[in-house]
């Protein structure tokens, strides 16, 4: 008890002394400065130049009814713990540790624990900084901003799952900048390349990512993006160019592949536009992926890869509570509709087999209700139409149309 009393007394005296010193300093200011200094605002400089740690996170759970199968699934899609630390006003650390599907069990078939991001950020000034480590590059809309409150629909847009494999992260270095005169931001970076041995039929190039796990850096990739803000519009273009064969020359030669920094390259180009004003939101994205050496990759691994994939979506939303007052004033109820079209078989090499099921359209319509800006409750219906299945690839009866009913909750803080 005595110790507590001494600590309390010391703390009180120190606070009182600091206050007296502050008052003395204030008396040396002009009348206007004194008025400002007496407002009791806490010190911004104290944390903009000091160290601090931020702990936050996000997560989402879903229920999905598959009408063709007459089945339903539900789960905690992901829970992510975000830890950031600012060492000083120039250097900071950011990380996202993700648990997918709630549980990882030895011998289990689902669940994943992974670092979604872990990088150091070196700031040169308020508009320019460099990140180094495992980071999610600015490609597409959802890859960088993948929190559930940031997109409509329980599921992320299918184009940004199947063509751009969100959340796509690699090890590397990236420079982020913003023009001082124009509302333009840009990035340019270098990351480890993909591994075409992991490419699988029907999943784009998702399986070729290393995601920071013992990435073979014999091949690399360059990526860049530019964003332009004009009024309530935001335009973005981004690109990726990287090698996909990380093997040493002797093995690559044996497989009929090439080796080197940009060996058997993969190119990705993407452009998108977003609009938001007075409760109306609109976004559209188009992307194209090219794998010119798909023929050689198919010869090496018999993976039936396409040489080109394309994807497009457009979404329109309106906040029904935009002009609401009273208790509804700061809540959002967004009604939205989204049309998506993607073709993972847009171009196939001569040794590839066309799979009609990979040419898909998705129509999604639903609601997102945000009682506060950090929590979302979602529901939507997704109608799917695909091309016909190729009997050379499957003999299981296949229905080209399907419907899904989704419910979801999400949070971020």
């Amino acid at each position: 008890m005595r110790k507590i009393f001494i600590l309390f007394s010391a703390s009180f005296l120190a606070t009182h002394a600091a206050s007296a010193q502050q008052q003395q300093g204030i008396q040396n200011l002009t009348p206007a400065q004194q008025l400002i200094a007496n407002t009791g605002e806490d010190s911004l400089n104290s944390y903009s130049h000091g160290s601090r740690t931020v702990i936050s996170g996000y997560g989402e759970a879903f229920y999905q009814r598959n009408f063709n199968e007459q089945t339903a699934t539900t789960g905690l899609a992901r829970a992510v713990l975000f830890v950031g630390h600012q060492f000083n006003h120039k250097i900071a650390f950011f990380s996202e540790l993700e648990v997918e599907n709630a549980k990882v069990q030895a011998g289990g078939t689902t669940g994943e624990v992974g670092m979604e991001q872990a990088y150091l950020k070196f700031s040169f000034n308020p508009r320019q900084y460099l990140v180094a480590g495992l980071f999610v590059p600015r490609i597409g809309i959802t890859n960088e901003n993948h929190l559930p409150i940031n997109y409509n629909g329980v599921e992320r847009p299918m184009v940004e799952q199947l063509i751009i494999p969100t959340t796509w992260r690699e090890i590397g270095v990236c420079f982020y900048g913003q023009s001082s005169a124009l509302p333009v931001t840009y990035t340019i970076g270098i990351v480890n390349g993909l591994n075409n041995a992991g490419f699988e039929h029907g999943s784009g190039f998702e399986g070729g990512r290393a995601e920071g796990q013992n990435a073979n850096a014999n091949n690399v990739a360059i990526l860049a993006s530019a964003q332009y803000y004009a009024g309530n519009w935001k335009f973005q273009a981004s690109g990726y160019m990287g090698g996909t064969t990380p093997l040493k020359k002797a093995i690559a030669d044996t497989l009929g592949l090439t080796s080197g920094t940009f060996s058997n390259p993969l190119y990705l180009g993407e452009a998108d536009v977003q609009y938001s004003n007075k409760g109306i939101s609109f976004k559209a994205l188009y992307c194209v992926v090219s794998i010119p050496d798909a023929y050689q990759i198919n010869n090496a691994y018999a993976s039936n890869k396409p040489s080109g994939m394309t994807g497009f979506y457009a979404e329109l939303g309106y906040n029904i509570l935009q002009n609401a007052g009273g208790k509804w004033k700061h809540k959002q109820l967004v009604a939205f509709g989204r049309y998506e079209s993607l073709d993972m078989n847009a171009y196939i090499p001569s040794n590839g087999i066309t799979d009609g099921t990979l040419k898909q359209t998705h129509i999604v319509a639903g609601f997102s209700y945000l009682p506060i800006p950090n929590v979302v409750i979602k529901t939507d219906v997704r109608l799917v139409n695909t091309g016909a299945a190729n009997p050379l690839l499957t003999t299981i009866p296949y229905q080209q149309n399907n419907s899904f009913l989704n419910f979801g909750i999400g949070y971020s803080f």
Binding site: V54, R138, A271
Partner: protein
């Protein structure tokens, strides 16, 4: 799809986007981002009031300070000053139309600094400001 086809395809995107982009560029050139660069002395920033003759909005960039300030001159001739720092993880904000956007996790704030999209949950920090003769005085701490 070989490299030529890829370039053709992506160029098509560029042409499609350039219409809107060029239009917005012309619009932006008419109203470039209004930035006033200065320094702080004893945590006080002095901005000449003449800076607000042309526009009621100004971005203040202070040397050796981590964030820009957004200054809005109100209809009653008072001033609102906000620190363009995301209240979630301290990342500098980007101005988007009338609003502000954090590229790090996607937080959004309206023109008054209220959170409209998380993960940020606190509104933007406002600083006290007062006019003194021909200057606006902003207290940083």
């Amino acid at each position: 799809m070989d490299r030529k086809e890829f370039i053709k395809s992506t160029c098509g995107i560029c042409v499609a986007m350039s219409t809107g982009f060029l239009w917005s560029l012309i619009e932006a050139c008419k109203t470039p981002l209004s930035v006033y660069k200065t320094t702080a002395a004893s945590n006080i920033v002095r901005v000449p009031l003449t800076e607000f003759k042309e526009s009621n909005y100004k971005v203040i960039r202070i040397s050796d300070y981590d964030y820009d300030l957004a200054v809005q001159k109100n209809v009653d001739d008072s001033f609102s000053v906000m620190v363009l720092m995301c209240t979630h993880a301290g990342h500098p904000l980007t101005k988007t139309g009338q609003n502000y956007y954090c590229t790090l996790h996607g937080s959004q704030f309206d023109h008054e600094g209220h959170v409209t999209k998380g993960p940020a949950s606190r509104d933007l920090k406002h600083l006290q400001a007062k006019t003194d003769n021909d200057f606006l005085l902003i207290q940083l701490s």
